[in-house]
Amino acid sequence: MTSLDTAPAHRGAPARASLAWRAAEAARMGWLEYRALETPAGLLGATLPRGVLQILFFTTLTGVLAGPGQREYAFAGSLVLVLSGTNVNGVVAVPVLDKQYATFARVRTGALSPTITQIARVLPYPVMGWGLLVVQGAIAAPLVGMTDFALRLLPWAWVYALIALTLSVLGLAGATMTVGKRADVVAPNVLSYLVMLCSGALVPPGRVGWVDAIGQVLPGRHGLDAVRAGMDGRPWLGDLGLEVAAGLGFTVLAALSILVQARRASRHGHDDFE
C-alpha cells in the first residue's frame, strides 16, 4: 500500500477477495480499455497491416543495403520492431488515460497496490501484440519469399512472447517516469527508436560501440540474440536469462516510478500532472 487513504474492500468483491482475483479484475479492465482504444476496424485496418509493412520494409531495405544474405537477419529483427510499436508505444495509454481522465486517484487509493493494478492493465498489450505478430509474420513471410525461414523461426515464437512482455514493461516504465513532466508522448517514442537502433534488430552487434552499450540494457537485444543463437545451434539460455533480467530491471523501475507518483499525489493531495 502506498497511501493512507486506501479504500475499504469493494462491496462487489468476494468476501475473501484474493490478490489474484483483484489483479484479474484489473487485467479485465485493461482488456476493456484496450478494446476501446483498438477498435476492430483499427486493429484489422491499421495495426495489422502496419506490422506487415514494417516487416516488408525493414527486410527489403536490409537486403538492398547489405545484400540478400542479411535478409534473414533482418526478418528476425523486424519482428522485434513490430513488437516495439504495439507494446512500447501501446502501453503508454495506461498512465496517459489516467492522466487525461483524472482516474489515477482511484488507482492509488484502491485495495490493490497501484503497481500491480498498472501492470495488470498493461497485460493485454503483450498478449495481443504477440498474437498479432504471429499473424503479421505469417502474412509477410511469403511476400518477401521467406516462408522456409519463418517456419524455422516458428519454434522460437515463445521467445518473442517474452520480448513482448519485456518491451511492455519498458514502455510502462518510460511512460510512468515521464507522465508528470508532460513528456509521456516523447518518452515511449524515443525508447521505441532506441530499440530500433540498439536492439541489434537491423544493425549487427559490434558495429557501433555506443549503440551496443545502450542495447545491452534495453529489452529486445538479448532475446533476439537467444533466438539467433538457438537457430544456429549455439547455446542460448544465457541470452534468455539476460532478457529476463532486463525485463525485471525495467519492472522495478516502473514500480518505483508508480510508487513515487502515488506518494507525491497522496502528499500533495492532487493528481494533476500537467
Binding site: E38, T39, A41, G42, G45, A46, T47, P49, R50, L53, Q54, L56, F57, T60, L61, T62, G63, V64, L65, A66, G67, Q70, G85, N89, R182, A183, V185, V186, N189, V190, Y193, M196, L197, L202, V203, P204, R207, V208, V211
Partner: protein, 255 residues
C-alpha cells in the same frame, strides 16, 4: 495586406509556434532521420558516390513520417481542441487556414530534418557536397509545397475517422515501403514498380541528388510540381466535401 493573405500568414505563424512546443517534432523530424541514417549506414556502408542518394532518401523518408504526424495532424488537432467549427464558419475559405497551418508545419519539419540529417551525416563521416546550390534551393521549395499539399490531403483523411492516431501509425509504412525513397523501385516486386511514380517525393529525390552530384534534369521537377498541384486539388475537394457533409449531418466536431 488583404484579409485572406493576412489570415493565411497568421495560420502559418500560429502553426510554427505550436510546432516549436510539439514534442513530436523532436521525434519525427529529429530522431527519425538520425536513427534511419545510422541504421542505413551501419547496415551496409555506402560507396562515397552513393552517400548523397542515401542522405536524400533518409531525409525524404523522414519528411513523409513528419508530414503524417505534423501537417497531416492539423485538422485532427483542430477537432481535438474544439476549434474546427470556428475555422469552417469564418469569412474566408477554411482551406486557406488549413494550407497556412500545413505550410507552417512543413517548413518547421523540413528545417529540423535538414539539421538532424546534416549533423548525423557529418558525425558518421559521410561526404556532404552541393554542386548546384540554386537547383537544390528550387527543389527544396517544390519539396515544401509538396509536403504542404500532402499534409493537407492526409489531414482531410482524419476528418472522416475518429481513430486518427491509429491511422497515422499505419500511413507511414506504405510510403516507406513502396514510395521509392530508401528502397529503389527496381527492388520492388514488378507489379508494384508503378507506385513510386505517384509520389512527388520520389521525383524530388532525383532533383536533390542531381543538385548534390552535378547533373541537372528538369523533367523530375516538372513531374513533382504537377503531382503537387494534383494533391492540392484533391485536398481542396476532399476538405470541401467533408465540411459540407459534416454541416448537413451536424457532426462537425464529432465527424
Amino acid at each position: 495586406m488583404s484579409g485572406a493573405l493576412w489570415m493565411f500568414v497568421t495560420a502559418f505563424r500560429m502553426e510554427q509556434r505550436a510546432m516549436q512546443r510539439n514534442p513530436l517534432l523532436l521525434v519525427n523530424s529529429g530522431m527519425l532521420p538520425a536513427v534511419f541514417l545510422v541504421i542505413a549506414v551501419e547496415t551496409g556502408r555506402p560507396e562515397p558516390d552513393g552517400a548523397a542518394e542515401l542522405i536524400v532518401a533518409v531525409m525524404l523518408t523522414a519528411l513523409w513520417g513528419s508530414t503524417v504526424w505534423m501537417s497531416g495532424g492539423v485538422l485532427r488537432r483542430e477537432r481535438s481542441f474544439g476549434t474546427l467549427a470556428r475555422c469552417v464558419s469564418g469569412v474566408w475559405s477554411p482551406y486557406l487556414v488549413l494550407l497556412g497551418k500545413s505550410l507552417g508545419a512543413t517548413v518547421t519539419s523540413v528545417g529540423a530534418i535538414l539539421v538532424s540529417t546534416g549533423v548525423t551525416a557529418a558525425a558518421l563521416g559521410l561526404p556532404l557536397s552541393v554542386s548546384h546550390p540554386v537547383w537544390i534551393a528550387v527543389s527544396l521549395m517544390v519539396l515544401v509545397c509538396s509536403g504542404t499539399a500532402l499534409g493537407a490531403l492526409v489531414s482531410c483523411l482524419f476528418l472522416v475517422t475518429r481513430n486518427g492516431l491509429v491511422w497515422s501509425h499505419a500511413l507511414m509504412y506504405p510510403v516507406f515501403a513502396v514510395g521509392g525513397l530508401l528502397i529503389p523501385p527496381h527492388a520492388l516486386p514488378a507489379w508494384l514498380r508503378w507506385a513510386p511514380d505517384l509520389l512527388s517525393l520520389h521525383w524530388i529525390k532525383d532533383c536533390l541528388i542531381d543538385g548534390a552530384t552535378g547533373g541537372v534534369t528538369v523533367a523530375p521537377l516538372g513531374v513533382a510540381a504537377l503531382l503537387t498541384l494534383a494533391y492540392f486539388s484533391a485536398a481542396g475537394f476532399a476538405y470541401r466535401r467533408s465540411v459540407e457533409r459534416s454541416r448537413k449531418e451536424g457532426t462537425l466536431d464529432l465527424a
